[in-house]
């Protein structure tokens, strides 16, 4: 039972990269973005300005409060790049965040922000708050 069990295989679900053994600690209640910084580069004809936007989210894990950063790049109203900024203090959380950071990009890239809005999220960890708050925050900044 060690990290060598880890697999990153994509079968059946595009862009879903999963680890063979659950390790580390998962985000719990996402409290939404705490602070954000926006660096839009140039406007286009779309409803959202092109640019790179970032937002931090806090959550409570069994290791305590942890923060994860999300950086979205918009072009023509669509997400063209997603990066996860890891800054957890706990090694378990860092490992966990690393596992999903590797798999995030292919899943979300190319989806319109409005298209991926849902009113509720079914999962084991959160209400839709974390997901939609981050997206809404970035949308409002991009429209400013």
């Amino acid at each position: 039972m060690n990290t060598s069990l880890r697999k990153s295989v994509v079968v059946g679900i595009a862009g879903l990269s999963l680890a063979g053994s659950a390790a580390g600690c998962a985000p719990g209640q996402a409290s939404g973005p705490q602070n954000t910084s926006a660096a839009p580069s140039a406007a286009t004809g779309g409803s959202y300005q092109d640019g790179t936007y970032s937002a931090d989210g806090n959550y409570v894990s069994p290791n305590g409060n942890e923060t994860v950063g999300v950086e979205l790049t918009l072009a023509g109203g669509a997400v063209t790049d997603v990066k996860i900024t890891q800054h957890p203090s706990n090694p378990n959380t860092r490992k966990f965040q690393g596992e999903f950071a590797g798999g995030i990009q292919s899943q979300i890239v190319g989806k319109q922000l409005d298209e991926i809005k849902v009113s509720k999220v079914a999962g084991s960890s959160l209400t839709s708050g974390g997901f939609n708050q981050a997206v809404e925050k970035i949308k409002s900044e991009a429209q400013a």
């Binding site: 039972m1 060690n2 990290t3 069990l5 697999k7 295989v9 994509v10 079968v11 059946g12 679900i13 595009a14 862009g15 879903l16 990269s17 999963l18 680890a19 063979g20 053994s21 659950a22 390790a23 580390g24 600690c25 998962a26 985000p27 719990g28 209640q29 996402a30 989210g57 959550y59 069994p62 994860v68 999300v70 996860i84 378990n92 966990f96 596992e99 999903f100 798999g103 995030i104 899943q107 979300i108 989806k111 991926i116 849902v118 009113s119 509720k120 999220v121 079914a122 999962g123 084991s124 960890s125 959160l126 209400t127 839709s128 974390g130 997901f131 981050a134």
Partner: protein
């Protein structure tokens, strides 16, 4: 909010965050009733507090009378215990404690995994009465959150609030005619969905190995026959008329093929395996992003 213009009432209960959405704000009396229902449930079933009814069973064998909800939990657990060959069991509490998921949250594994005791050896569950023949740590976590959602929904209906939506941190109960689009949380990233499903009247519950994970390979979905965490399934979703059933089936999918569960329960389901592939019933067809 599940629908534009609705309002929410949020609170913490049985170790998780709840949000109840209604078309108009709930009265103070409604809120008190809801919170009382949560408190009663916790006082009966929490294995994390020494004064709960169920905590007594961990100290000594005997006859334990539980609230009315026990009469529904028992048969549900018995069916799933049978279908899973003993892997899914309410007697899993001791195995969880053994791996560190205990009342003190020691999160420290105490030796190799320890199987749960066989049901027939230690437990007789008749209606609301549990008779135990040994000290046992009973954990109804696989169905308890869902059952509490059902109980809260009943409180609202009896109080005249027919339309409402209950979100128990990702386990959902839609008590209204209008369907709600629901994102399916990525097993390893709560900021992302792997698909969107429309939830009509009924419940949608999830289980995932990424939550309540506390060490290398340790998480809270244990196989009762070995006491070790399940490795082949990483996330599951189940839809059913009641949240109790949907909640229990989401965990059962870690042990039992969804097609088999469908023979015994009126349900829809989606299981994501650790190799990245997914299996699902017809209602989840086309739900996953591709």
């Amino acid at each position: 909010m599940p629908h534009p213009g609705w309002t929410g009432f949020s609170f913490d209960g049985i170790g998780t965050r709840w949000e109840i959405s209604t078309p108009s704000p709930l009265s103070g009396a409604h809120r008190r009733q809801l919170l009382d229902t949560v408190a009663d449930y916790d006082a009966a079933w929490s294995r994390f507090r020494p004064d709960s009814l169920i905590a007594g069973a961990a100290r000594q064998p005997g006859r334990y009378e539980l609230p009315a909800g026990a009469a529904a939990l028992g048969p549900l657990y018995e069916t799933l215990y049978r279908l899973s060959g003993g892997a899914m069991t309410p007697l899993i509490g001791g195995s969880l404690e053994h791996l560190g998921y205990d009342a003190g949250y020691s999160l420290r594994q105490d030796g190799p995994p320890q199987p749960a005791p066989p049901w027939d050896d230690v437990l007789d569950w008749q209606g609301t009465v549990l008779t135990t023949r040994a000290p046992v740590v009973i954990d109804v976590g696989a169905a308890g959150k869902g059952q509490l959602a059902d109980l809260l929904s009943a409180v609202l209906r009896e109080g005249g609030v027919r339309e409402h939506f209950i979100d128990a941190s990702g386990d959902l109960l839609n008590a209204g005619p209008a369907p709600v689009d629901v994102g399916l949380e990525h097993p390893y990233d709560p900021a992302r969905a792997i698909g969107i499903v429309s939830l009509g009247t009924g419940a949608l519950c999830a289980s995932a190995a990424n939550r309540r994970a506390w060490g290398d390979g340790l998480h809270h979905v244990l196989d009762g026959t070995t006491g070790a965490p399940v490795r082949t399934v990483v996330a599951s979703w189940a839809m059913a008329a009641s949240a109790m059933t949907a909640d229990a089936l989401a965990t059962a999918l870690f042990f039992v093929d969804g097609f088999r569960l469908q023979q015994e329960f009126d349900c829809s389901w989606l299981t994501v395996y650790s190799d990245g592939h997914a299996e699902y019933s017809a209602d989840f067809e086309g739900v996953l992003f591709s």
